[in-house]
Amino acid sequence: MIGPIISSGIISPAWDNIFAVLLGMGFGFALESSGFSSSRKIIGTFFGYDFVVVKVFFTAAIVASIGLLYLSYFGLVDFSQLYIQPTFLTSAIVGGIIMGIGFAMGGFCPGTSLAAIGVGRIDGLVFFGGMFMGVFLFSESFSLFENMFYSGSQGAKMINEAFGISPELFTFFLVLAAVGMFFGAAWVQKKVKKVEY
């Protein structure tokens, strides 16, 4: 998570867990202040009356991409030290579908359910319990899913490499797509009947 700063010797590795806690608190605060502790707000994305989830996550992605690329350009972050999650295509697709269904049914994703628990919401607690049971069952029956889990391995792949373009150009297109989505979402929201919650 904070590999580039620690491995370049700017900060001691002893600070690793402290940073993890501080970043987690900041993330939780950002989720709550964006209204993500409300399942009705999150579910609005699927019904078209509230697109705040898409807007916030898209904004986070483009701000982080632009920030990282500028930091790398000015030599403040070593890109080679960044941890990139390996891609397993099949499990990513299957997991994405299951997560999407869970997201639409429960109105939370893992992080937002914890934010909801943090502000005392019972539905967040129930969702988290279900998620915990799912994780437990998956872990216990992992041998059944193992082949599927590891299939479609792509290694630590970057999406710009898949398109054969530079990260800077990809980020530019991503920003254009995000801005287009912001305007599109605002247009859809105007057309859809407002929901009070």
């Binding site: 996550f57 632009i66 500028y70 080679s80 999650q85 992080g111 800077e168 991503l174 920003v175």
Partner: protein
């Protein structure tokens, strides 16, 4: 959309466009001296012979063994999957291409640590990442894995586990009927079935 959001959107587009038109920096081929010093002082570059052996037996796809010994010694005996690269060709384009393979842990080995250490320094200065040294080299590997050592009667359970692993590894490399005196025949043909563990949760993102 509100005016403030429109302004922010325009700002983001300008910043992203700035990234595209910024002059490309010349790639720095050598590591920063401070970072190099830090890597030299740190001992995390060493991998024990037990760990390397374990990864060989597991057929770890991320492991790339680079054997720096002379070609005649390499032909006589080599660890399974090792590639022979002579120290004087370390900076050759093909070698650097091999060592810059993403997702691979490059483990340098020679008869002892001396040549591996020099090669590690050269590779690290050339900004090769995930590069390690097999501590003690082939001499240590032979003494630890292939040579049988008598077990102390007061050995702890972890020592017993280690000895048990080394015995199994010895059989893997030289065969059950072979002895420690016949390392030349120890090129491995058989395959072991890899039982993968579920990956531990890593620093993935997501909401």
């Amino acid at each position: 959309m509100e005016r403030k959001y429109t302004i922010l959107a325009v700002l983001l587009i300008i910043l992203a466009f700035g990234l595209v038109i910024l002059p490309k920096k010349k790639e720095q081929n050598e590591i920063d001296p401070k970072a190099l010093l830090s890597s030299v002082v740190e001992k995390s570059r060493y991998l024990s012979v037990d760990l390397v052996t374990h990864r060989i037996i597991e057929n770890d796809p991320t492991l790339l063994l680079i054997d720096l010994r002379p070609a005649d010694q390499f032909k006589l005996f080599a660890l399974p999957g090792a590639v022979n690269i002579l120290p004087d060709s370390l900076l050759a384009a093909t070698t650097l291409e091999l060592m810059n393979q993403p997702g691979k842990d490059k483990v340098l080995l020679a008869n002892s640590d001396l040549i591996s250490e020099k090669a590690w320094l050269i590779a690290t200065r050339s900004s090769v990442t995930r590069i390690y040294v097999m501590k003690g080299g082939m001499n240590e590997w032979f003494n630890t894995i292939i040579k049988e050592k008598p077990l102390n009667s007061a050995a702890s359970s972890s020592d017993l586990d280690l000895v048990s692993f080394r015995n199994a590894a010895r059989q893997f490399f030289v065969g059950a009927s072979e002895t420690a005196n016949t390392p030349e025949k120890s090129k491995v043909k058989e395959k072991v079935q890899v039982i993968r563990k579920a990956p531990e949760a890593s620093s993935g993102g997501g909401c």
